[in-house]
Subunit: 113 residues, 2 copies
Amino acid sequence: MTAARRSGQQDRVPPHPDVRTISLQQVLEAVVDPVRRLIVGELYAAGEDLACGTIELPVSKSTATHHFHVLREAGLIRQYYVGTSRMNALRREEFDEAFPGLLRALMVERERA
Amino acid sequence: MTAARRSGQQDRVPPHPDVRTISLQQVLEAVVDPVRRLIVGELYAAGEDLACGTIELPVSKSTATHHFHVLREAGLIRQYYVGTSRMNALRREEFDEAFPGLLRALMVERERA
DNA sequence: CCGAAAGTACGTCAGCTGTCAAACTTCGAT
DNA sequence: ATCGAAGTTTGACAGCTGACGTACTTTCGG
């Protein structure tokens, strides 16, 4: 029995890749999807962590889970639980260091609106 | 008979969209492909117009044509003929104005190498 | 203890798109 | 006139992926 398996709460902490190991390819594949860009945009604009449920998305819950997963794998967000809610945090500074100017450039839609 | 049909050379000038009418979505769909990013990178690094044939690509000619087409439609390159060669020009300044910082951010792979 | 809430995991399916080969067009050179 | 070089066009096809529903898990409140 591993340390992670001893605690239900720890089990629910998903793996987060080191942003420096992530390729631009992976990042672009993540942000090319409009729903995922919507998520990133909401987090960017909010300036604080948001639960999955508080971000209105035009897709089903299972699809939303998929999108959050892709964003996490691409190093764009960090996820952790608070009760039954899964919180999402934009990994802004880390990401900016690895891909300077990219996040900002992607927010052009939001800034125009 | 239209003006365009009177001259073979004019027929071969493909349509170029106004960069300001292009969505970020379309741009991302263009640059998410690694072959297309390679093309943009070569033009970016070369600093001058290049014929399709002078850019070595790991795909067949017909596939290459497809990629150039997508880049043109996304407002990233301008194409014109010189003899049988089709020249490609990066629309750098126009593009930067419409999507500030994006092109630069996408060149992170090249700058690391 | 039980039910509701919030997500997750899984299987499926449809649509998109990157790929190629083959046939064609255009232009320059011989 | 012909041939070759350089691309284009046109299908066809395979693989990916975004979408969903359903069943499941975990946590909190009553």
